[in-house]
């Protein structure tokens, strides 16, 4: 008998990184790695479940910037080039490791995985992975939700409500373009909710969003069921709270599954380990060693000595961890069911890129978990927030509290000594964008193009990723440059528009570089 619901939510996001002005650009690898290690493996899991007739439900946010990159022809072609390079390296590895049987098996594993990725990417999904995700959604198993257009952190954008509206409106329009219908839900960037933002969601036709635990828990009036039932905001949009217990099982550095010693170690990569001349064609062309994705060791322990990875043992562990996760959710649900006298819903969101990229066995863990839930028990019912609302339409009205899922739970990650200087410029640019949209309500031709491009530059500057990187302290230079580039481009366009002197070739250059959201209409800022 069903005693409660489990909604797994994967948040897939990458900032828009695409540099046609360079032949080769290091930061584009983020996308290529995520495709090989996370997105294709997840699609394989979903397809496998469907082929085996196993029912499941899962929710995934695919952010508009990620969707735009997955649908971009230049990046698609570059991915294939990247993958071909990797396949070549994996063949060399098979050859090189001939005399070391266990290592040789791993080399074969990577070779096989990469070749399969190529077939999936080119043939099955015709170079656009969105086709794959759409198919799973259309089959009724996956609920794809949207996110802020460029993952802008909304609570710190609040002083200009039109900027918030634009992030949401553009996101839903992009979603419709890619997936052929309107989104039911949204993953607020960084889970950042500010009371009142729900009205903007409502206006865009969005029916639910997810907040961090304390967003719901500190909502007003007090939420009777805590985070184990959604609440309706005054606007009528539903808010679901993140469950901490199931979060810790996967996220936590100490107690989480991904830290298990038999799992693959992320840091020992042949890009760093092998002879320089040998790996040279597969690392950065200027000779900087980087991760290739071929890694032969397991975490082993808190030691520098790393033993060889054993795939079978790792998969056994992933199955064991899936069983453990299911057992604990069963216990949790049983307990909550008795206490609340109602079927609870447990919402468990994770970064999608955690699965496969960081936690190499993550997709297999998910595979085991979804199969076990379908076959081995009947207390937990998998659901999506939207499906839950259809079955349970009566919920308490309460206004969630301002919150995020960043460190300490509020805005500090994106507002501290290293990145607070951005907001003066972000707010000014947003004000100017609104001013432009109101000054030129019916622009045509080159003016229309310049206004649209100004919108794109503003949106790109608003990505929460730049501030996040500055806070984390790695790759800061790139984030600072990106932020300044977009603010600079916006400012230049603004000045040109205002002085009636639009430089067509400059504009064309920007349209070529920052080409996302082709259908954007600047009037969204009016």
């Amino acid at each position: 008998m069903t005693k409660g619901y489990l909604a797994l939510v994967l948040h897939a996001h990458l900032p828009y990184v695409r540099h046609p002005e360079y032949e080769d650009f290091l930061e584009e690898d983020w996308l290529y790695e995520a495709i090989t290690e996370t997105y294709i493996p997840l699609l394989n899991v979903f397809e496998g479940l469907i082929n085996d007739g196993i029912d499941f439900r899962i929710t995934m946010s695919i952010t508009p910037t990620l969707a735009a990159m997955l649908a971009d022809e230049l990046l698609q072609n570059r991915y294939i080039k990247h993958l071909d390079n990797l396949i070549e390296l994996s063949y060399k590895e098979i050859e090189r490791t001939k005399w070391d049987q266990p290592l040789n098996e791993l080399a074969h594993m990577y070779n096989y995985t990469f070749i399969e990725s190529r077939i999936a990417f080119v043939e099955r999904y015709r170079r656009n992975l969105l086709n794959g995700f759409k198919k799973i959604q259309d089959a009724g198993k996956l609920e794809i939700i949207t996110c802020g257009a460029t993952h802008g952190f909304l609570p710190l954008m609040e002083v200009n409500r039109k900027a918030v509206e634009a992030q949401i409106k553009i996101a839903t329009a992009e979603y419709e373009k890619h997936f052929g219908r309107r989104p039911n839900g949204i993953w607020l960037p960084e889970c950042g909710y500010n009371p009142g933002d729900d009205q903007v969601l409502k206006d865009a036709g969005i029916k639910f969003f997810i907040t961090d635990t304390h967003g719901i828990l500190h909502g007003s009036p007090r939420p009777k069921y805590g985070i184990f039932a959604p609440v309706y905001c005054k606007s009528g949009v539903a808010a679901f709270g993140r469950d901490i217990e199931s979060g810790k099982a996967v996220w936590s550095a100490e107690e989480g599954y991904p830290g298990d010693f038999v799992y693959r170690d992320f840091y020992r990569d042949i890009g760093f380990d092998l002879n320089f001349e040998y790996v040279k064609p597969y690392i950065s062309p200027d000779g900087i060693r980087i991760n290739t994705g071929i890694k032969y060791h397991k975490i082993t322990g808190n030691t520098d000595y790393k033993e060889l990875y054993n795939r079978r043992a790792a998969l056994d562990k992933a199955a064991e961890h899936a069983g453990n996760f299911m057992f604990n959710r069963g216990q949790q649900i049983e307990h909550l069911y008795n206490f609340l006298e109602k079927k609870p819903i447990i919402v468990s969101p994770y970064d999608a890129e955690l699965f496969g990229h960081w936690w190499y066995e993550g997709p297999e863990w998910l595979n085991f978990l979804l199969r076990k839930i379908a076959c081995d028990q009947d207390a937990i019912k998998l659901t999506t927030p939207f499906e839950y609302l259809k079955e349970n339409p009566k919920n308490q009205v309460s206004t969630p509290s301002l919150s995020s899922w960043g460190y300490k739970g509020y805005a500090e990650v994106w507002l501290s000594g290293c990145n607070d200087w951005m907001y003066r410029h972000l707010h000014k640019a947003a004000d100017r964008m609104v001013e432009l949209a109101q000054s030129y309500p019916t622009a045509e031709g080159i003016l229309h193009r310049a206004l649209n491009q100004a919108g794109r530059e503003l949106l790109l500057a608003q990505s929460s990723d730049w501030g996040f990187i500055m806070k984390m302290g790695t790759m800061v230079e790139y984030a600072v440059k990106r932020f300044k580039d977009h603010i600079g481009r916006f400012t230049k366009l603004y000045d040109q528009i205002r002085s009636n002197s639009i430089d067509e070739s400059y504009l064309r250059d920007l349209e070529w570089k920052d080409n996302l959201f082709a259908d954007l209409d600047y009037r969204v800022y009016k």
């Binding site: 032949e23 500190h218 509020y410 200087w421 907001y423 400012t491």
Partner: protein, 315 residues
């Protein structure tokens, strides 16, 4: 990246030319710079007259360099405004700009008193308009304010406070509300339960019998990584690496024969390079290895065999 000095307009051009190296450095994250397929509009606008080819080339480079230069946002926009933002239940952040005209206006108003007046932030609790002041320096443009009170609405003025207590406001901010850091005091009767503490503890997921206060403390300590691919990973490497050493052996086998010959290494046919050379690289674990290499002339008429024997041991 350290903030760059402001460069006057007249020196800008010079700066661009001379900082070629710096500009290249600032592009470090990228791999390889290729010639831009499209050039900025400025390139087209250069119409060299009677200039040597070399000069044109140089000019072109300068302009390209300029289009590559990182834009430095201005220190401020000469606006007269102040913006207030929420960092968490206890802290606010504000930034402001005071327009020159506004300063002149205030100077006129205050007369002599202006010169010993201090620039202050006046923070109001908007429920009763009680306030407190923070003195700030004239060259500061932003400030973190410790209000220490969750679920309270604030706004802030930036202005001049004279020694005899006259406050001249230059700009007033938006109103913001700090979030709660605990359960709401408001309870909807229709949605009552007997044990709120239990609900709170359960939602916190920290077992039972914990008070909301304890859970609150735990919330503060939680370090959930944020949402990004390279975000604080749960399998983060120890920052301090102890002394370490890794050593492995690889063996390179190489050779050459007639380009048309067929060659096998350990019984497997291999592909020769067009010039008849070949090479292999093997990982060499401890053990004894024989590597029979055989070349056969294309007509099958002649054979050559070489078999290197290797013994690797590790102490």
């Amino acid at each position: 990246m350290p903030p760059k000095k402001k460069v006057g307009k007249s020196s800008l051009k010079k700066k661009v030319v001379s900082s070629k190296k710096k500009a290249a450095l600032s592009l470090k994250p990228s791999r390889k710079r290729v010639t831009l397929k499209r050039k900025s509009g400025k390139v087209a606008s250069i119409t060299p007259l009677k200039e040597g080819l070399k000069d044109i080339q140089e000019k072109k480079e300068q302009v390209e360099e300029a289009s590559q230069k990182v834009f430095e946002p201005p220190y401020n926009y000469n606006d007269n405004k102040i913006v207030l933002m929420v960092r968490d239940p206890y802290w606010l952040y504000t930034y402001w700009e005071i327009n020159e005209n506004k300063i002149i206006e205030i100077k006129r108003e205050l007369g002599e008193k202006f010169f010993d007046a201090s620039l202050v932030l006046r923070i109001y609790d908007t429920s009763d308009w009680t306030f407190f002041d923070i003195k700030v320096g004239a060259h500061v443009g932003n400030w973190y304010i410790n209000v220490g009170r969750p679920n309270t609405s604030y706004c802030v003025d930036i202005g001049y406070l004279t020694s005899d207590g006259i406050f001249m406001c230059s700009a007033r901010s938006n109103v913001v509300t700090t979030p709660r850091d605990s359960m709401s005091e408001i309870i909807d009767e229709e949605w009552m339960i007997p044990d709120w503490e239990m609900m709170y503890a359960l939602s916190g997921g920290f077992g039972f019998g914990k008070s909301s206060m304890e859970v609150k403390e735990l919330f503060k300590k939680m370090q959930f990584p944020s949402s990004w691919l390279f975000s604080g990973s749960p399998v983060k490497k120890e920052s301090k690496r102890p002394f370490w050493l890794v050593a492995n052996c690889e063996l390179i086998v190489y050779g050459a024969t007639e380009p048309t010959a067929s060659v096998t290494v350990m019984g497997e046919k291999i592909k020769l390079r067009p010039d008849g050379t070949f090479s292999f690289r093997f990982l060499l674990p401890d053990g004894n290895y024989e590597i029979p290499i055989e070349a056969i002339r294309d007509d099958g008429g002649e054979r050559r065999n070489i078999t290197p024997i290797i013994n690797r041991k590790t102490k």
